[in-house]
């Protein structure tokens, strides 16, 4: 389709304008991480690195960060396995109740977090009699992360068709060999994309986490929530956010590169 140079320019202008808007509040965060005022009012009153120093020495942040990474990693892993299994079942077979299963997978992300949160909280404590812990967070996160993996894998499977798997089977490969040598490599970039999104969702989730976190299970968002509104801690939270943004660019960029390389090879 041919776009007039003008519409191209308008689109480009719009895109970069919105991107600028997206980054504006982040700039505020950066500014406040060096703003001497504890209440983070605008405009900043000067420059101080006190908060950065405090953040560097805060073992609470470090522990929360490690907890968050652990939770996100395990939840993502679970979501990858469960989401892929579901996508294979729903994309490759037809069976009674298929559309209900499809709806069920979407539900945890489609229902508001506060609903999922109290439902799981009530379920863990009231029904299953489980004490809340880091594992209840993992279970809750995995539950709503399944759908991101599921969506990506299902879309890929649909595009892939079955002929590669048939070819492999035709050439003598059994069910598992075919999955390992043919299906899985074809799913790689879809798994990467789905896993990334799942990881990001879990890493920054606060609402469901609030309801499912147990004693001592402080994820980073919970640490932020606990500290954001406390004396002397709020500016440190800004520092943490800035560090997160900076460090997230690398994995995001790498993943993007990796998945587009895989796409290109197709």
């Amino acid at each position: 389709m041919t776009l007039s140079p003008l519409s191209r320019k308008v689109l480009a202008g719009l895109t970069f304008g919105v991107l600028a808007l997206i980054y504006l509040p982040l700039l505020v965060v950066v500014a406040n991480s060096v703003n001497p005022s504890q209440s983070m009012t605008w405009p900043p009153r000067g420059v101080t690195f006190e908060w950065w120093e405090r953040a560097a020495h805060s073992s609470g942040v470090r522990e929360a960060l490690v907890t968050s990474l652990q939770v996100a990693a395990i939840a993502t892993l679970l979501a990858l396995v469960l989401g892929t299994l579901l996508a294979l079942a729903l994309q490759r077979y037809s069976f009674f109740g298929k559309s209900s299963v499809n709806l069920l997978v979407i539900l945890p992300i489609a229902l508001p977090g506060v609903v999922t949160g109290i439902a799981l909280n009530n379920g863990f404590k009231g029904i299953l009699g489980v004490d809340l812990s880091i594992w209840t967070i993992v279970i809750a996160h995995a539950t709503f992360c399944i759908v991101t993996v599921f969506n990506n894998v299902q879309a890929r499977l649909r595009r892939l068709g079955t002929s590669l798997e048939e070819a492999s089977s035709d050439l003598g490969a059994g069910v598992f060999t075919t999955f390992r040598l043919v299906t899985l490599p074809q799913l790689r970039s879809a798994l990467l994309a789905g896993g990334m999104l799942a990881f990001a969702l879990s890493f920054d989730e606060i609402i469901v986490t609030t309801f499912t976190a147990g004693n001592g299970a402080n994820t980073l968002p919970i640490w932020i929530l606990n500290n954001m509104f406390r004396p002397n801690q709020a500016p440190v939270v800004n520092v943490v956010a800035v560090v997160l943004i900076v460090f997230s660019i690398l994995p995001v960029w790498l993943a993007q590169r990796l998945s587009s390389d895989v796409e290109a090879a197709h």
């Binding site: 002929s163 490969a173 090879a265």
Partner: protein, 361 residues
């Protein structure tokens, strides 16, 4: 038509176990009957084609033989062994897919060596045999490439190499030339035929292209609505179509329904005449030459359209009582024998060339 279909070694063949035996094979998808009670024996080493329009069930039969589909009823035997319930990876047949189905994440050499890999062959032997198979299809120099870097014809040959490297007894080819342009297609036809002769493997070839089927096959099964309409050598199929359907699908033909036959030929029942059997002469001939010879049919007609084909002309005609005819004239070279639109012509053909068709199809 280039193939002799006479069968010289009949005596030897009779007690050979067929490579493929299908009995009462049936496949339904929900309410749709894709394959309906197919019985078929395909001999060892035969080049066998399944011809039919899309949706006629030919590809489903192929997939049933390969094991990608499970038969709803009936049996599939390979070399006398019942494999109806076996998985594709248990069957000693290999398939060349219509879209080639090359693994995009592997090099050409790894693609060809895949079947050897899953059979647990060592890397060295694997590479040697794969290289050999690539050499056979004249792609030995492209082993390091990815499938995406190959042309359509090259991919087609890789798919062939990937299948033959396993030395199957039977090779199934699902419209393998469908995606190629005409020139490449003709070239590949020759290569396929040669390959089959050299390897001595049974080829089961699915196509909707009647010319391709006629050119390549030892025998052809013409499919329609999930059933085999006619089975025979290319010559039998072409010269003696068993039904109006076969006559219409394989080549062009002039079909006479029962009433027309009665009027023109004096016999009831459906009949067919191939266009190249029709002879045309200009003008309505005077009665003085007498009526047609007893072994000949003579009709008067008007030229509706003439189409130049290079090797000759295709002439569309209509008789005075409204019967539409098509005639094929060989080009004689020097003279322009082309009939013109609106011209009156006399059409003759031998009664021997008229094929009676089985009723009801």
């Amino acid at each position: 038509m280039s193939l002799s279909t006479s069968a010289p070694a009949e005596a030897a063949a009779v007690d050979r176990t067929p490579a493929i035996t299908l009995r009462g094979l049936r496949k339904t998808f929900g309410d749709v009957v894709a394959v309906d009670a197919v019985d078929l024996d395909i001999a060892d080493g035969e080049f066998f084609s399944m011809l039919g329009p899309s949706g006629s069930g030919k590809t489903t039969v192929l997939r049933l033989i390969a094991g990608f589909e499970q038969a709803s009823a009936g049996t599939v035997e390979l070399g006398g062994v019942d494999v109806t319930r076996s998985a594709p990876f248990e069957r000693d047949v290999h398939t060349v897919f219509q879209d080639y189905a090359l693994f995009p994440h592997m090099s050409v050499l790894d693609n060809v060596g895949y079947g050897l890999r899953v059979r647990g062959l060592g890397k060295k032997e694997r590479r040697e045999r794969a290289q050999q198979a690539l050499d056979t299809v004249r792609l030995g120099h492209l082993g390091a490439r990815r499938p995406a870097q190959l042309s359509g014809g090259q991919r087609q040959r890789v798919a062939l190499a990937r299948a033959i490297v396993l030395q199957p007894r039977v090779l199934l080819l699902d419209e393998p030339l469908g995606a190629l342009d005409l020139k490449l297609r003709e070239q590949m036809q020759v290569e396929l035929k040669q390959l089959q002769r050299e390897l001595g493997i049974t080829f089961v070839f699915v196509t909707h292209d009647q010319e391709e089927a006629l050119t390549l096959s030892d025998r052809i099964a013409v499919f329609d609505a999930g059933r085999i309409q006619q089975l025979g050598s290319p010559r039998e199929i072409y010269e003696s179509p068993a039904s109006a359907y076969v006559a219409g699908f394989v080549g062009t033909t002039n079909l006479f329904d029962s009433a027309t036959s009665q009027r023109i030929l004096g016999v009831a029942g459906e009949h067919a005449v191939r266009p190249e059997r029709l002879r045309l002469s200009a003008g309505t001939e005077p009665d003085s030459e007498g009526s047609a010879r007893p072994d000949e049919v003579r009709l008067e007609a008007v030229v509706v359209e003439t189409i130049y084909l290079g090797t000759g002309n295709r002439v569309h005609l209509r008789t005075s009582d409204g019967v539409e005819l098509v005639a094929l004239e060989q080009s004689t070279g020097s003279l322009d024998t082309r009939e013109h639109r609106g011209e009156d012509v006399t059409v003759r053909f031998a009664r021997a060339d008229v094929v009676p068709l089985a009723a009801g199809s």
